[in-house]
């Protein structure tokens, strides 16, 4: 049976079972380019019914922009028939009935009498995958190209494989200067000499020193200058090759900032140290001459008693009094400077005991009643400091009390994070405008001749409270009384 007879038969009857069973679309085209046979897959792919296809030329299945070329190529093929894949290496497109295009692989087989069998394979999905892959590659390349950090890849021999623009800027090399060269070029001695050994050590033992860890090292620019970097190295396998990617972050600025901070801290520490010594030395050296003045004044008033008149005796009395005042002032400075300078052991301090001890030392006169709340807490702190706290607040309350029936109350409220203590009195009170001033060193409100005060007490209270991370403040109504508040964290010394 002649093949042409089969074809002729097929024009009118059922398609060949062979054609019909194919998964790819198949078309038979005559020498004029008319479609004479098509399978079910072709109907599905192009969206035409078989009868419609038979009325079309093969160019109808090609986007208009390719039609003229295609007709010429078809004539060329008719002249030199053979089995081949159309447009190898070219992107071919087909056109559906609805006007949409799709990418296709087309192979041609020449049949007898100028008939051609065309197999059309829809490669849209493959195309998309390829495009996606290409896009991903472009995107990755863009990231590497635009990265702020230098990205350098090397192979297992340490040869530089890629060098991004940030690396060019950072190291001062053009890619051509470094590609194919050993990575040790970017390191100063002695790392330069050690790197090959290190890489080899890793390759043979698998022991990592930088890979996957990241650390701070020193890098060298083209001009020989060095700079600190943070280097992160990761390893990857491409086929059988092993590559290492180095991410290089310039930390010059960070290092400078760190160095400056360290310098500032050193200066602060030294200034603080000087200040501590200053307070100690000054206080110490001031005391000796002061004591001499006190003694000499005492001897004059004793030895020359008969020669001195009333004024002279009064002047010597005032002199001695001022000497004592200056003495307590110096003691105050010393005590103030000792807080935070001299550290005591932090122990459990029972505040109930502390209040008893402070009151025993202060011995308030009988017209002053002191009410202490029951069950004051036990806190963790330096015992002396807590004693100083209450001693100073209670001493102030007692010293300034101006009512015939004095009343001092000590209380405590527990909050989540801290204890809030209060020491209140029904004394003269303090005007709001003085609230800040009273906590400053050497600041007093009453004339010193009326009430002996150094102005150290409340500043000492403030220093101690703040050393423990607490706050101190006052509420007061002139003529009615004052309440001093302070907080201490429950967790103890900070």
């Amino acid at each position: 049976m002649q093949f042409s007879n089969i074809i002729n038969g097929l024009e009118e009857k059922d398609p060949l079972w062979l054609l019909e069973s194919a998964a790819d679309a198949m078309l038979i085209i005559d020498s004029m380019g008319r479609i004479v046979q098509a399978n079910g897959a072709a109907e599905t792919l192009f969206g035409y019914a078989r009868a419609e296809l038979f009325a079309l030329s093969v160019e109808s299945l090609i986007p208009p922009r390719f039609r003229a070329t295609h007709a010429l190529q078809r004539q060329e093929y008719a002249a030199h028939p053979g089995s081949r894949v159309m447009g190898t290496g070219l992107e071919l497109y087909s056109l559906r009935k609805d006007g949409s295009e799709f990418a296709a692989d087309i192979s041609l087989s020449s049949l007898e009498d100028g008939y051609v069998l065309a197999t059309v394979h829809d490669i849209t999905r493959r195309k998309h995958a390829e495009e996606a892959l290409a896009e991903q590659g472009t995107r990755l390349a863009a990231i590497v190209e635009t990265a702020v950090d230098a990205i350098i890849t090397i192979n297992e021999r340490g040869t530089i494989d890629s060098f991004n623009p940030a690396a060019e800027r950072l190291f001062g090399y053009a890619p051509d200067d470094v590609l194919g060269k050993n990575i040790s070029l970017l390191m100063p001695s002695p790392y330069r000499e050690e790197h090959d050994g290190y890489l080899e050590h890793y390759l043979t033992t698998g022991e990592k020193r930088i890979i996957g860890l990241g650390r701070e090292v020193v890098a060298q620019r083209k001009d020989g200058s060095t700079f600190p970097i943070e280097l992160a190295v990761s390893e990857m396998h491409v086929g059988k090759r092993r590559l290492f990617t180095g991410l290089v972050h310039d930390i010059t600025l960070r290092k400078q900032v760190e160095e400056r901070q360290a310098q500032l801290i050193r200066e602060l520490e030294s200034a603080n140290e000087e200040l501590k010594n200053f307070a100690y030395v000054v206080s110490h050296d001031l005391k000796a001459p002061l004591r001499a003045i006190g003694s000499l004044a005492d001897w004059i008033s004793t030895d020359q008693a008969e020669k001195l008149d009333a004024d002279g005796k009064e002047h010597l009395r005032l002199l001695t009094q001022r000497v004592r005042r200056m003495d307590s002032l110096i003691d105050g400075i010393l005590e103030y400077s000792r807080v935070g300078r001299v550290r005591e052991a932090v122990v459990a301090v029972d505040v109930n005991e502390i209040i008893k001890e402070a009151l025993a030392m202060l011995a308030p006169s009988p017209h002053i009643r002191v009410e202490v709340a029951p069950d004051l807490p036990i806190i963790r702190a330096e015992r002396t400091r807590i004693l100083q706290l209450f001693q100073n607040l209670l001493s102030n309350a007692i010293k300034y009390l101006d009512k015939p029936a004095g009343l001092i109350r000590v209380g405590c409220v527990g909050h989540n994070q801290d204890w809030e203590f209060t020491v209140s009195d029904n004394g003269p009170g303090i005007e709001v405008r003085h609230f800040k001033r009273i906590f400053q060193l050497f600041q007093t409100l009453a004339p010193k001749d009326r009430i002996e005060s150094t102005g150290v007490g409340l500043s000492l209270v403030k220093k101690i409270v703040e050393m423990y991370g607490g706050r101190v403040w006052v509420e007061s109504q002139p003529g009615v009384g004052s309440t001093f508040f302070f907080t201490l964290p429950r967790s103890g010394a900070s």
């Binding site: 100690y280 110490h284 005391k287 000796a288 002061l290 004591r291 001499a292 006190g294 003694s295 000499l296 005492d298 001897w299 001695t320 000497v323 004592r324 003495d327 003691d331 010393l334 001299v342």
Partner: protein
């Protein structure tokens, strides 16, 4: 003082402080001779003179030029002959570290010089009273 003929050695650089001790002793009728030297080095020179009769007590200031009190104690308390002489520190310092260092070096007492002369006299009176009562090795 137990022995009224042995000297009291005062190591003190401040002239008025030395006068104060001298006056207080006189006021309290303590008749031991008072030897005043200005620093630790001079004190060692005095103590190490050949045939020197040891003082019955040393009153020691801490802050002095050339050789301070602590440095002096470090030498004296490691000297087989001198270490038995009682030393009472008489100083301005209220620093914990000075007190610790002094007692670590075996001082017999530590008294802060009061700014008030009368209190000073009381301090000296107590020192005298104690060392009149206390026995000393020969």
């Amino acid at each position: 003082m137990k022995s009224t003929c042995k000297a009291i050695l005062l190591v003190e650089d401040d002239e008025v402080d030395a006068m104060t001790v001298r006056r207080a002793l006189k006021e309290l009728h303590v008749n031991n001779p008072l030897v005043v030297v200005e620093n630790g080095e001079e004190a060692l020179g005095y103590l190490r003179q050949p045939d020197q009769v040891m003082p019955c007590i040393i009153l020691l200031d801490l802050n002095m030029p050339v050789m301070g009190g602590i440095e002096f104690l470090e030498v004296v308390k490691h000297d087989a002959v001198l270490k038995r002489i009682p030393v009472v520190v008489l100083t301005t310092s209220d620093e914990q570290q000075d007190k610790v260092a002094s007692f670590d070096l075996g001082v017999a007492g530590y008294i802060r010089k009061p700014v008030d002369y009368q209190q000073f006299v009381e301090a000296v009176r107590s020192i005298d009273a104690y060392w009149t009562l206390s026995e000393l090795p020969q």
